[in-house]
Amino acid sequence: MATVPKPIDVGSDYKEKYGFFVPEDYVFKAKRGLNPEIVKEISWMKKEPEWMMKMRLRSLEIFRKKPTPTWGADLSVIDFENIFYYLRASDKQSKTWEELPPDIKQTYDRLGVPEAERKFLAGVSAQYESEVVYHSLHEELSKKGVIFTDTDSALRDHPELFKEYFGTIIPPADNKFAALNTAVWSGGSFIYVPKGVRVDIPLQAYFRINAENMGQFERTLIICDEGSFVHYIEGCTAPIYTSDSLHSAVVEIIVKKNARCRYTTIQNWSTNVFNLVTKRAMVYGDATMEWVDGNLGSQITMKYPSVYLMEPGAKGDVLSIAFAGKGQHQDAGGKMIHVAPNTTSTITSKSISKNGGRTSYRGHIKVYPGANNSKSFVKCDALLLDDASRSDTYPYNDVDADNVTLGHEATVSKVSDEQLFYLMSRGITRSEAETMIVNGFIEPFTKELPLEYAVELNRLIQLEMEGSVG
């Protein structure tokens, strides 16, 4: 049964579709490396209030003091002094794609962002290097009081709202990379959904790195006021370079009483990107936070979207998939912190490893004293496509309350010969059969995506798979 399907070079395919780059013709490029001068320069370029500059400098100190974490993926290879921390590609933000510099417009055209906006999005934000270069929001939504803007503009235009929440969910001292982000943050999305307003069509942000050794540090803040709903989607890609880039975002979300927020990520960074992201939501009475977190790209990802269940009836969901190919380590999972009684959470993790790739599920369920009658269920399934690949599970549970229901299921499986034979006996090629099995495996994830993204994800999996079979 030894088959040698025609190898398809996934690298070259990624390169053509996402991994291209355009020459730099930038308005401003900070020097490589990180020091207080660079931080001040960023703040000065952005004409920020003094409190923000001070917060940045304080955060830089924290970053310097905190050791690089060693409990997860190997981060020792990151050379923080070789990174460009701030790149401004365009001198202004555009409201139409035509106004963008041609190179940047072409980039987004190739990535299909304007087309997606026309078809099925209520608002789009496009970040190129450090800054959001394009922004739009349906007029009816802004009339209802919805704010969807880049985070820099929010600091300028909505200072009270901004200051009330910024850094309250993830303070700079939370971890080394949260400190780094707070020191050099730029761009990201700021969303405020007023009481009772439902944003039924998704909002999307697309994060693009173009330059080599780029560091992208977007900062996102979402506030869902009582009884509101929003679905926010982010996508990310970058060119393939031989040396590393760094993406380290911070995402803070507040979901007030009876509100619901869904945050969907399809991360497809090129495999030279370190993706170290802190995402956290505070959820209040009877409100729901849903993280739908897809990790396909990057060299190393460390990301554990978390939900703090602050009041009774609060609900948190993490649905996560990770795909690790050659040289990739996806260390992903989720955290559920039950602070109030009668709160519920689920974490569903699906990981696929091939060609020596490594996936880790890392999760934490914490139930504080008094958070009685809470329920949590964790399910992690790993699929290994060959013997060279690896999958690990690191679940941590701390329960200090009474009458708590805690469930955990974990499976590790291989693509079964019986399934392959069955599909192939119907004329389906081995590589297509493998792709079908993998797509079937992540179907619980895919079915949560809007149709267009589900189709795109299946296509991405196919690209990943085609190079792997044999």
């Binding site: 010969d417 119907r426 297509e432 079937g440």
Partner: protein, 264 residues
């Protein structure tokens, strides 16, 4: 030479010889039944013909359309026109039956994801599916379900025959399609198979029991014992087995007819 020829096939599982020289010629238009007691090699024969990786071919040939099938991958055999209705259809979670049927049909038509003109049109697909569902007394509620996932025994077997009807093979192997079926399901399945019978289809029915042969009348019956055919002839052989079972060839008393309780 016949349309489909098995010549002196020897096959083993985990080093243990199971098939010890099977020779059989099938022409399109004919229905052959291979009967045999448990452990005689019936399932090995069907898996070996389709190319299951767990069965190794020690010697012999299987000739179809001028090719030796034994050198081909299962998908190549399928696209050439061979079909196996599984005794135990496999569950594949997360993939709908519709998606599966469409992918299989497109594969048969040579669509490899590039030349879209080879794809079956949604309209053609729907109408083909609708016709075949009716014959099998199935409703379309099973289409969005995952492949064989949570199907009853009868649903699984009917779904196998549905795939056969959609893919229109030239040689179809039905491996114990009657096992685990109630009498209604057997009738529906038989009706669908009989509808497909004709000059373009050769059928190989593999079965322990004679019951299914009451509904799908074979032209030839072969008795497989310990990896070899011990008897070949016309449908009268099935009648003989109905009364005597396999006791002529095995010590174990294995009836070839179902008792009343089993048949219900």
């Amino acid at each position: 030479m016949a349309d489909f020829e098995i010549r002196d096939l020897h096959a083993s599982v985990e080093g243990k010889p199971i098939l010890k020289g099977v020779t059989l010629a099938i022409n399109k238009g004919e229905v052959h039944a291979v009967m045999g007691p448990n452990g005689s090699g019936k399932s090995t024969l069907s898996y070996a013909l389709m190319g299951h990786p767990g069965y190794s071919i020690d010697s012999g040939e299987v000739l179809f359309k001028g090719k030796n099938l034994l050198g081909l991958e299962p998908d190549e055999r399928a696209r050439l026109g061979i079909f196996l209705a599984f005794q135990y259809p496999v569950v594949v979670p997360g993939i709908s039956m519709t998606n599966f049927l469409r992918t299989a049909l497109n594969a048969k038509r040579g669509y490899d994801g590039k030349d879209r003109s080879k794809q079956i049109s949604p309209k053609e697909f729907r109408s083909l599916l609708k016709d075949e569902l009716e014959v099998l007394h199935m409703d379309d509620s099973f289409l969005p379900r995952y492949i064989n996932d949570g199907f009853s025994g009868g649903e699984k077997k009917r779904a196998e025959i549905l795939q056969m009807a959609m893919l229109k093979p030239e040689i179809a192997i039905l491996d114990e399609t009657d096992s685990g079926l109630d009498i209604d399901s057997i009738k529906f399945v038989a009706e669908a198979v009989n509808r497909m019978r004709g000059p373009e289809l050769g059928v190989l029915i593999i079965t322990h029991y004679t019951r299914v042969l009451e509904y799908i009348k074979p032209d030839y019956v072969h008795v497989l014992v310990d990896g070899r055919f011990v008897l070949s002839g016309g449908p009268e052989i099935a009648d003989r087995l109905e009364t005597t079972g396999y006791s002529e060839w095995t010590d174990a008393d294995e009836p070839a007819a179902l008792t009343k309780e089993e048949a219900v």
